[in-house]
Amino acid sequence: MLKIWSMKKEQQKAENAEGAAGGKKKKVTAAQLRVQKDLSELSLGSTMRTEFPDPDNILSFILYVEPDEGMYRGAKFSFTFNITPNFPHEPPKVQCREKIYHPNIDLEGKVCLNILREDWKPVLNLNAVIVGLQFLFLEPNASDPLNKEAAEDLRTNREGFKRNVRVAMGGGSVKGVLFDRVLK
């Protein structure tokens, strides 16, 4: 009798352990769920596309932008997106992978976009960031320069700046700096 009782106990323990193991399964994190939601609502249009080096890790991807109007028309730019577990409390980290001639993007690929830094709010989403990036190519902004020379150039001589953008996009050098070829 006693033996049956202790066997029953053992069995229960094993069952509980199984249940507990189920409880320890990895859970979808709040950041992942939010990124999943943002991605499924993304409206990229024809000028942009994403690439996921590891589709199982949606917190890290590349965005390609191919402006179809403005001074940067005809080229293809790419940005890395890295999202921390603190998203959406922290903005995504975005960097341009090519060396380009742009008043708001420096030679290291750092991007000066207000919502990527000082104006980020958790209610903003990935779509807002992507629209912001697209806008930088349509309307480079000389009053908030990250690349001071380029900004000065745009401010003082818009036509000259346009020519320099074409030269840089073709892989040429502007003011002694050699740029990456991004023309298609």
Binding site: A20, A21, G22, G23, K24, K25, K26, K27, V28, T29, A30, Q32, L33, R34, Q36, K37, L39, S40, E41, L42, L44, R49, T50, E51, F52, P55, D56, N57, I58, P85, N86, P88, H89, E90, N104, D106, L107, E108, K110, V111, C112, N114, R117, E118, W120, K121, P122, V123, D144, P145, L146, N147, K148, A151
Partner: protein, 435 residues
């Protein structure tokens, strides 16, 4: 006036004043239903978890021990730094380099007779739900939002509606300079830390372009050295904020830039402060907030007065910037909160189903009715309807069975659908037993 009744677990002389509060019915106790005779014993049998043994944590441990709690655990992964000694009063100069949890536990045990404090020199993420089940109350004195979100999500996920003991009240204290807050969370019942995420103002960042072109303050020069000059010159392979050589490099860069723009005030100490994002910690703020947190702990444990949290106010903010100001209010629970608005629902599935069949089934299930669901597990993207590249990459999964995809019984999946812009769903897959 003197009370002569001795209740179990109470040493009359020592706890005389505490017992006046916790054993007697008073204007704030719950009418005739209040029975103070068992409180002291109940508090002796409670196990309380304190997370963090830093500025707030030292205060909290001392306060809880002096409030009649006898079993306390404390988790902190940090070791003691010399700069902690001005306000983390459980530590002495000879303790520098030792674990905070360890030293704090021993100190309080030595000073408060009869209290047992168990230190854990680890990260909170090193423990699982079984560990957190043993506590009746969790008090946090943390400086990181990430850690708060983690413990919050863990406690919310642990709630089992049929098990009373699975509800662990969370008391959270936080300070930043002269400001602070304390709040009480009853997981799944009241608004949680994730609901209140917007209450944490992200650190005020300076626009990159200001750093790059028109610095006005010494901090701008330091940030410039930190985020722009460092990356451009890469003097060391990676930045170690605790390495004096690295900080010195940044300091010199910042100083040169400051001279160029005629900005005074760049010092080594300021450089260190800006780079490590140090906000001056003020001992008085810590003690005000810790007192408020422990007051809530005592109220929850003893029912001697209604606590913050339920059903009304759950958030107390404190500011000592201009004289003293406090405001207590109710932060509403968010229906679309990804943690508590959104508990994983069980979903009966057949492990032999293909993912395609599962996705289809969401359209017809009354509890879901999703037309374009995207679905992911924690470390596996199962099927995403968009963007195009992810859809292409995950489309082959549709023909695989749930088992082939490595899913297991009890695993959690997240489901989103653009038709429900504000809501996402979590399901816990329950495998049908095969005959």
């Amino acid at each position: 006036m003197a009370s002569t009744t001795v209740y179990p677990g109470s040493e009359p002389a020592r706890w005389k004043y505490l017992d006046r509060i916790r054993t007697r019915a008073g204007p704030f106790t719950d009418g005739d239903a209040y029975d103070g005779s068992m409180v002291a014993e109940a508090m002796e049998n409670m196990t309380v978890l304190v997370i963090g043994a830093g500025g707030l944590g030292c205060e909290i441990l001392k306060n809880l021990a002096l409030s009649g709690f006898k079993n306390i655990h404390v988790i902190d992964m940090d070791t003691i730094d010399i700069s902690n000694l001005n306000r983390q009063f459980l530590f002495r100069a000879e303790d520098v380099g030792k674990y905070k949890a360890e030293v704090a536990a021993r100190f309080v045990e030595k000073r408060v007779r009869g209290v047992k404090i168990t230190p854990h020199n680890k990260m909170i993420q090193d423990f699982d739900e079984d560990f957190y089940m043993q506590f009746q109350l969790v008090v946090c004195g943390l400086d990181s939002i990430e850690a708060r979100r983690w413990i919050n999500a863990t406690l919310v996920n642990m709630v089992d509606e049929e098990v009373e003991d699975s509800y662990k009240p969370l008391i959270d204290g936080g300070t930043e300079g002269f400001k602070g807050q304390s709040r009480v969370i009853f997981p799944t019942v009241t608004s949680c830390i994730e609901c209140q995420l917007d209450m944490h103002a992200p650190r005020a960042a300076v626009p990159l372009c200001t750093l790059a072109s028109i610095p006005r303050q010494p901090e701008h020069c330091i940030e410039w050295a930190h985020v722009i000059a460092w990356d451009a010159e890469k003097p060391f392979p990676s930045l170690d904020k605790d390495d004096p050589e690295h900080i010195t490099w940044l300091f010199k860069k910042a100083l040169l830039r400051a001279q160029e723009f005629n900005i005074p005030g760049v010092t080594y100490a300021l450089t260190q402060g800006v780079v490590k994002n140090i906000i001056p910690a003020i001992a008085a703020t810590n003690s005000v907030i810790a007192a408020s947190c422990c007051n809530e702990a005592l109220k929850i444990a003893s029912n001697c007065a209604p606590s913050l949290g339920y059903p009304n106010n759950n958030y107390m903010m404190y500011s000592g910037n201009d004289s003293i100001y406090t405001y207590t209010f109710k932060h509403e629970k968010k229906d679309d909160c990804p943690v508590c608005g959104n508990l994983a629902r069980e979903l009966q599935v057949d492990p032999a189903w293909t993912l395609g069949e599962l996705v289809e089934s969401f359209a017809t299930r009354p509890e879901a009715q999703l037309k374009k669901p995207s679905i992911r597990a924690e470390s596996k993207t199962l099927y995403m309807q968009s963007p195009v590249s992810l859809e292409e990459a995950t489309r082959p999964n549709l023909d695989k069975t749930l088992v082939e995809l490595g899913l297991s019984d009890g695993e959690e999946v997240g489901v989103t659908d653009p038709a429900f812009a504000t809501v996402s769903f979590k399901f816990k897959l329950k495998f049908k037993k095969t005959e």
